[in-house]
């Protein structure tokens, strides 16, 4: 979210409950719906891009400049049970509405890469495709047939797509050309002679000006064709070696719903991101410790707790069963001027100095196993208490 802010994106929380009759871009079987007391059919938002487009179309109808909006919130999808998928999960992303062209596409692409790098993701690639290029491959066909072919491609059914294109009258070499264009990846995109393919490479070059990141994070790949039907131009997916699903999906969606404006954006599926981070050996950063304050008479204990909190420390009264991966420092109150940590006595002021120093630079911190500091180990004071 800090990366989003640094690019000028402001947070927006669209409504999570929508009228189900509102146009949905997600397959209706995958939308969670229910009735309210008035008998209106409501839906839990299945997709944030559509929800934000709706808010913008209503509230920012008159706005002319570029709107930069970000979110970190939940979406709801109906999933079949026993498939290892969640029905409610967090998504983080941005929408850039009112700006078109390669610079806008590059901005969103670079921001995605920067945000993922900021949370510690490594070894990922952003596969960049172009729906316009895919359309152009089938441009000799009548409009209806192009839609049929694209529908098959959104379902990832290449067999049916090329068959439908051939049956609709696309010549054998054109089918072969489309097949090759969807199979090449990376530098080989140079062999695809379409203006959109050049635009795509230009977008990646510009994005790398904004955020250098790891070498070769942006890879041209026309096979990126997201399942959602509203994308119109440059599209992209984030692939990590550790996860079988794309971690983030995004792209240009000019003219979605009542929103008669150019727009682009992305959404990061937080559960997939988390899976990739954990598989890549990441552990939660432990940059905060929690004091578990015990002993002493109640008035002294509360007074010391208040004093420590004023210094910016987190203090829980009594034992802590769940520290959310943080470090728990057990402190025993002896009297107003003395506390005991790990068998050593010190003044509350010294305790503050020790802990705040520990927060700033402790080399062992990031490599520590979070589970050893978690539940059932309130006595885990090996970090700050001992080293300070």
């Amino acid at each position: 979210m800090r990366a989003f802010g640094s690019y000028g994106y402001v947070p927006l929380e669209p409504p999570s409950v929508e009228l189900a009759r509102a146009a949905s871009t997600v397959d209706e079987h995958r939308v969670l719906r229910f009735l309210d007391r008035d008998g209106s059919l409501l839906a839990l938002r299945p997709d944030l891009t559509t929800a934000i487009a709706r808010v913008v179309a209503q509230r920012y109808r008159e706005a002319t400049g570029a709107l930069r909006l970000s979110y970190f919130t939940t979406v709801f999808r109906q999933e079949r049970s026993m498939r290892g998928s969640e029905r409610e999960y967090d998504q983080a992303g941005v929408e850039l509405i009112g700006a078109s062209g390669v610079v806008a596409d590059a901005e969103v692409l670079a921001l995605l890469c920067e945000a993922l790098t900021a949370v510690g993701l490594r070894d990922f690639t952003v596969e960049v495709g172009h729906i316009g290029a895919v359309r152009a491959l089938f441009s000799e066909l009548p409009a209806g047939a192009v839609e049929t072919v694209l529908g098959h491609l959104r379902d990832a059914d290449h067999v049916a797509a090329f068959r439908a294109a051939g049956e609709a009258g696309l010549s054998a070499d054109r089918v072969a050309r489309a097949r090759t264009a969807l199979a090449v990846r990376g530098r080989a995109i140079e062999t695809v002679d379409l203006p959109e393919a050049i635009e795509l490479r230009e977008t990646i070059h510009l994005a790398r000006e904004l955020f250098a990141g790891e070498p070769l994070w942006g890879v041209p790949d026309l096979a990126v064709i997201p399942a959602l039907p509203y994308y119109t131009g440059v599209v992209f997916e984030v692939i990590s070696p550790h996860v079988g699903f794309p971690i983030a999906v995004g792209g240009r969606y000019d003219g979605l719903l009542a929103l008669d404006r150019p727009a682009t954006g992305f959404g990061i599926a937080i559960p997939h991101l988390h899976q990739a981070l954990v598989a890549g050996g990441w552990t939660p950063a432990q940059d905060s410790s929690l004091i578990s304050l015990e002993g002493g008479d109640p008035r002294t204990r509360l007074r010391i707790a208040a004093a420590l909190r004023r210094e910016g420390l987190a203090v829980a009264l009594g034992r802590v069963a769940e520290a959310a991966g943080g470090i728990v420092v057990t402190v025993r109150v002896i009297d107003e001027r003395t506390v005991e940590v790990d068998g050593r006595s010190m003044s509350p002021a010294d305790l503050v100095a020790t802990l705040l120093k520990g927060v700033e630079g402790n080399p062992r911190r990031n490599g520590a196993d979070p589970h050893r500091n978690g539940a059932n180990s309130p006595g885990s004071r090996r970090e700050t208490g001992r080293e300070g």
Partner: protein, 213 residues
């Protein structure tokens, strides 16, 4: 050397043809038969031997990079995988079938009762088909020998997979309509297809050439 490409294979009726296809495109097939191991490593590849209906799941979740499985299985499973090549073998059809000469009676019944009973092993395929046609049906999900259902009054029609149609004929059933023609497919995981494009696209091309022979 990069990690071996994981290929999920369906251990069913198409298994022998699958092995032949693998051999034809130059992939190792040693150790695929003659024992009960389910995870077989060869040169540059590792085979995951799974039940046909589980192959799309292994591939969709990335437990295997690519897979070979019938389109009939894909239609019923509804998993998100890329269908790359029609391999041409294992041809079969999803059909709606009814007892011979019963058509008028069942249509009459549909008009009066407003619904038909349909027995099937493939509820998803059947449901999608009748929804698209706008015909209201009650589905009876069975585990096998669906041809029996109309003969003993369990259902009016069946939705089943046929290859030659012999079983239907022997049970005095006739095809009412065809839902889809299916054959074996080379499928790929979405992330693997991006990550391992060179190997998978090359494999797809070799299979494509072999299938078009």
């Amino acid at each position: 050397m990069s990690a071996p490409l994981r290929i999920a294979l369906a251990q069913g009726t198409i298994f022998d043809d699958t092995c032949r296809a693998l051999k034809a495109v130059g992939l190792p097939t040693d150790g695929l038969t003659g024992h009960r191991r389910l995870f077989v490593k060869g040169e540059g590849v590792a085979y995951v031997l799974a039940r046909p209906s589980d192959v799309p799941t292994y591939v969709a979740h990335g437990a295997a990079d690519v897979g070979i499985v019938g389109r009939d299985v894909l239609l019923e499973s509804d998993e998100d995988v890329i269908e790359l090549v029609d391999l041409g073998f294992g041809v079969c059809r999803f059909v709606v079938a009814a007892p011979v000469g019963s058509m008028d009676r069942s249509l009459d019944e549909y008009r009066h009762l407003g619904s038909l009973e349909v027995a099937t092993k493939y509820p998803r395929v059947a449901q999608r088909h009748f929804e698209r046609k706008g015909i209201q049906v009650e589905l009876n999900r069975l585990s096998g020998a669906v041809e029996l259902a109309p003969q003993v009054g369990l259902s009016d029609w069946i939705v089943d997979l046929v290859s030659t149609g012999r079983t239907l004929r022997e049970n005095e059933l006739a095809i009412v309509e065809e839902i889809a023609t299916c054959s074996a497919r080379l499928i790929a995981n979405r992330a693997s297809y991006a990550r391992d494009r060179a190997r998978i696209a090359d494999l797809a091309e070799r299979f494509e050439k072999w299938a078009a022979r």
